[in-house]
């Protein structure tokens, strides 16, 4: 039975949350809860798995079976949960560093296996929890406490990475486009296979301050101005797309799901 309000899925006993005023993570949490409601998931049959970081604290605030794991390993824990009990809906919450640095290997292999998990990455382009170091998703040239002269590393495009690695559903939204984010998560949940939803989030405390982006509202305006709908982008020239990022559904290509394939082996062995 789907509940009406996202708030009904929150654990009040865990409040107040740890997030700074203006942090984008709460908006993504709201989008996930609305998506769960819209998708009609059974609250008692849904497991939320997260790593370590400001973003990964979200699992504790959600009234489901929740698993707050070790840094970078959320997808590996989630793989065990899903394989042992495939009837559970498993949603995985990770930060950009959590998912793409320390957890990068687990990420590409979860994509490759196309195991039925829905991953939502809270991408604030920075390590928030440890006070502002650069991550593999920090754009080149941006500043961080460990990139005091600007980072010289090239950033990943997480969605491109997921598509290349074999994820069957990929989309990107932002905290400015929260409704879009909700819709993408609903579709990700519906996809029988590995889904990645990247949510661009703002960390005014570290990324915003280090890069002189203003307050949270300015940072969300930046998201609005620098994003291009994926469909519109197909009609734009490379020059027009320079400095912009695509949002919306980026990839939807159903493929055999890992556990369904495994269960064919079980069926054959036990026949």
């Amino acid at each position: 039975m789907a509940l009406q309000h996202a708030q009904d899925y929150l654990r009040n006993a865990m409040m107040p949350h740890i997030w700074c005023p203006g942090c984008g993570h709460g908006i993504i949490l709201g989008a996930i809860l609305r998506a769960i409601s819209k998708a009609g998931l059974d609250q008692d049959k849904t497991v939320i798995v997260s790593g370590i970081g400001c973003s990964s604290r979200a699992s504790g605030y959600m009234d489901f079976d929740t698993l707050h794991t070790t840094h970078g390993r959320a997808l590996a824990f989630a793989t065990g949960v899903k394989m042992a009990k495939p009837e559970l809906n498993v949603i995985v919450i990770m930060g950009d560093g959590d998912c793409s640095a320390i957890g990068g290997n687990h990420f590409i292999h979860a994509c490759r296996r196309n195991i039925d998990l829905t991953a939502v990455v809270f991408n604030n382009s920075i390590y928030g929890m440890t006070s502002g170091q650069y991550s593999p998703l920090t754009p080149r040239g941006k500043f961080a406490t460990t990139a005091p002269y600007g980072t010289i590393e090239r950033e990943f495009d997480l969605c491109d990475l997921a598509i290349a690695a074999g994820a069957s559903y990929v989309g990107r939204g932002t905290t400015f486009h929260a409704q879009l984010l909700t819709d993408l998560i609903v579709k990700g949940i519906a996809n029988k296979g590995f889904s990645l939803i990247e949510g661009i989030s703002q960390c005014p405390t570290y990324y915003g301050r280090k890069n002189k982006m203003g307050g949270p509202i300015d940072m969300m305006k930046w998201q609005q101005e620098h994003s291009v709908n994926a469909v519109a982008a197909t009609k734009m020239t490379p020059e027009q797309l320079d400095g912009k990022f695509k949002i919306g559904e980026l990839h939807n290509s159903p493929a055999p799901e890992y556990i369904a394939e495994y269960d064919k082996i079980i069926a054959a062995r036990r026949a």
Binding site: L67, T69, A76, V81, A84, E87, R270
Partner: protein, 377 residues
């Protein structure tokens, strides 16, 4: 195939798989590494036949994570590895200890450090199995000396993991893992222990509520209890806390639940120790050589005895103290530079002499080496 049950010649690694499946293991995640690889291969073949699932993960960190996730759904789970892979698992072993998730980790020890001598036996992970992960944490470590004992101790590892909601490490070595012996599985029938599940309503259930040395019932994910599991220090509800009394209660309870049940957890074997002046204290494959040496020493009229810890951690302190009071000398042969000897010295104190026979060249310590030392002291 692992599902048939009869007397036959089998390898230690094979007996481990048989014991695991008999104990109810239905999920395995691992990454190949010599000399434990046969365990993964046999699990891959056997698990689908009993409706279980196997996965070869991208590394050992992921394997350890996956078995914890699987166990949280109520599925008995295991991983196996050796040397370098065991090092990689450590962070998540600590996670399982703090969150009290039952699981079994098999480490078929090989020579180290680093890649070491990949195919040679060693016992260099005695201390890592106790202290490998950061922070004070409880752990149970069992070590088999034969193929049939590998079967029994694997089974027992699952039972202890379920009973105490704790990771259990089966510390094998290359000799035991690859040795072949005739085993009659029918004669080894054991009873299965399952974790206790809550019977109260969701509102009344506290996943970490137990007496100061107790174990709380454990709800499965998907059973409607909506639990929070975190590697942060947590209160009885499972929610993060930094309140001094709650932190203290949890960490002490985790230790007490094992330390107050030593009668149940500690297993060891004694051979001719009653009147012995010289005790050989050995575990794993080395205990086989020690047994032979003690028997021959007795034939030569020397009062020697063997103490074989089967539970390595917690260390059988009381039993060794009692021996140290009676004996003149304890010899500790081991395939490392004296890791278990450190513990024996600590326990024996000034009660008797302690010395080691240590081999790090990737060869099993021979009975003759031990016999020679017995005759010397």
């Amino acid at each position: 195939m692992a599902v048939e049950r009869s007397a036959r010649l089998m390898q230690g690694n094979e007996a481990c798989v048989e014991g695991a499946i008999a104990a109810g293991c239905r999920f395995y995640a691992g990454y190949p590494i010599t000399p434990s690889t046969e365990i993964a291969e046999l699990m891959a073949a056997s698990l689908p036949c009993v409706g279980g699932r196997f996965i070869q993960m991208e590394d050992e960190i992921a394997s350890m994570a996956a078995i914890i996730g699987a166990s949280l759904t109520g599925t008995k789970s295991m991983t196996a590895t050796s040397g370098p892979g065991f090092s990689l698992k450590q962070e998540n072993i600590g996670y399982a200890a703090l969150t009290e998730v039952p699981c079994v980790i098999v480490n078929v020890q090989r020579s180290g450090p680093s890649t070491g001598l990949p195919t040679s036996p060693a016992q260099g992970d005695v201390m890592q199995s106790r202290w490998g992960t950061h922070g004070d944490h409880p752990i149970i470590v069992l070590s088999p000396s034969s193929v049939s004992e590998t079967y029994r101790l694997t089974f027992e590892s699952f039972n202890l993991a379920e009973k105490y909601r704790n990771p259990v490490i089966l510390l094998m070595d290359e000799v035991v893992g690859h040795m072949r012996e005739r085993v009659d599985l029918h004669s080894l029938s054991m009873s299965v222990v399952d974790r206790v599940k809550p019977t109260n309503k969701r509102e009344d259930y506290l996943p970490y509520d137990a007496a100061p040395d107790g174990v709380s019932p454990m709800a499965n994910f998907g059973d409607g209890y909506r639990c929070h599991v975190t590697g942060l220090i947590h209160n009885k509800k499972g929610y993060p806390t930094s309140k001094a009394e709650e932190v203290d209660f949890l960490i002490r309870r985790l230790h007490n639940k094992i330390d107050h049940n030593l009668d149940d957890v500690l297993k060891y074997e004694e051979y001719m120790v009653d009147d012995a002046d010289i005790i050989v204290l050995a575990f794993g494959s080395v205990a086989r050589s020690a047994h032979n040496a003690v028997r021959r020493a007795r034939q030569n009229g020397v009062k020697a005895g063997l103490f074989r810890p089967i539970t390595i951690w917690p260390f059988p302190e009381a039993a060794v103290t009692a021996l140290a009071q009676k004996a003149k000398h304890i010899i500790v042969p081991e395939m490392n530079l004296g890791q278990l000897r450190l513990e024996v010295e600590r326990v024996a104190g000034s009660r008797c002499q302690v010395s080691g026979i240590n081999s790090i060249i990737g060869e099993l310590i021979a009975p003759d080496q031990i016999l020679r030392r017995i005759m010397e002291v």
